[in-house]
Symmetry: C2
Subunit: 265 residues, 2 copies
């Protein structure tokens, strides 16, 4: 048995999220169907975390164990030929035995994209939240967001119902930016953390926009955090603006130690 690690991009619009469910296509089920077509085996795949219906991935990480002589590169090519156009395998590598994409994840980064122009962008409608209440002050949102960085109990920004041991997480970075890719009407919020509670990014974004359009003061998100109560926060932002950007894992120990003298560096 070998363990493979895939980096996967998908447009979440037409999927009912990651996890297999009856009656609606999911990312997991579509990937398992393609693997079965290629190998003739039913393979169970596991992701770094589940994404909800409508949420996208630029770099979801998936692991599975399989009996096969195909190389990782063969898997990448064969999967891309058998997956729908809304999914693509960006990378495939051999992973150490026992690799667990959920438990071993060290950090994740999410991006949330908001369009605050007066008229909808027909080409981005699946990939952003069209915010129509007013123009957002991205600098005020950044100042309001900064107190969320660090190690805190984020239960104010959690939709209940998902199992977890603790609601304490460490946010390494929270960055609000206007004008990404030269688009003046786009405001992006990127958050990197050691883990995320259920709907945490969408609840933080729904809170920050209240500051952004002037409905709440800049100090409010810090007060929401301190309240440790979901009802204190803003509404959950809609799913189509959310992208899982990347997942970091520990650098694997090299299987064979090279002699220091063989190093070219």
């Amino acid at each position: 048995m070998r363990t493979l690690k895939l980096t996967l991009a998908y447009d979440g619009t037409d999927f009912a999220g990651w996890q297999i469910q009856l009656g609606r296509p999911t990312v997991q089920q579509t990937l398992e169907t393609a693997l079965e077509k290629i190998t003739g085996q039913h393979v169970s795949v596991m992701a770094s975390g589940r994404t909800d219906a409508g949420v996208h991935a630029l770099g979801q990480v998936v692991g599975f164990r399989i009996e096969s002589r195909l190389s990782p590169e063969d898997f990448r090519r064969a999967l891309n030929a058998n997956l729908p156009p809304s999914m693509a395998v960006l990378d495939a590598v051999e992973a150490p035995d026992g690799f667990h994409p959920t438990r071993h994840a060290l950090r994740k980064r999410y991006r949330y994209v908001i369009h605050d122009g007066p008229i909808r962008d027909v080409f981005r409608r699946r990939y952003c939240w069209h915010f129509t209440y007013g123009t957002l002050d991205a600098a005020a949102m950044q100042r309001a967001a900064s107190p969320l960085a660090g190690t805190h109990d984020f239960s104010s920004f959690e939709t209940s119902g998902a199992p977890r041991k603790t609601s304490v997480r460490t946010v390494y970075a929270i960055e609000v930016e206007r004008g990404r890719a030269g688009e003046a009407n786009l405001v992006t919020v990127e958050i990197e953390a050691n883990g995320f509670l259920y709907n945490m990014v969408r609840a933080i974004v729904g809170t920050l926009v209240e500051v952004g359009w002037g409905a709440r003061p800049e100090a409010w998100p810090a007060e929401v955090l301190a309240a440790q109560n979901r009802r204190a926060a803003g509404r959950t932002a809609p799913p189509q603006g959310l992208f899982l950007v990347k997942v970091d894992y520990p650098t694997p120990e090299p299987a064979v130690c090279e002699s220091p003298t063989s190093s070219r560096d």
Copy 2:
């Protein structure tokens, strides 16, 4: 009766092109249905030109005559509230009586977007041609394209079947660029002309990519032009990479001449 001029953006993916046809949704029909909902009248709309199935518009221009007391801005808002998310009215203005969006168009600009990265971009799949034969040399494509600028008979780049008096057109600009919007895998071809033959941009792009990936020499597109024979050219590039960017009209004569002394400039 008043005449209104709309600037319209649409994602062509789910439309069977501009023109009304039975059984499949078209841009024209969707716009006329929204106008009827707003005004209670059946209104016939006319565009600067028909776009094919799958072709997009950033700035299609549409005109129609109507009996209504709504302001142009009222029309813009009401239409955007009644159109599907794949269409948006960017601008609405009063036009002079007799305005004809097809006949009065002076210039049009089209953009064609090619993605030549090895792995498809799941978020751009509706909005580009994923070219997988090789990496394109955009500088060579630009050199090969330059002889097409000017006034020529473009019948080598025309799909037959559309009525026109002449196949002579004037190309004011033809620009090949890599890296638009910071995306290293995107190559765009923009063409501005006083008019376009049927499938002209897609035939030119299908010819230029042959140079871009090294299958033909840089001099070839000029030879194709001189041949005045469609069979001399490359294949027609697929529709989903094509965008109608803008349409220019003569600046209307001001209705009232201002005194020169009132100018602030």
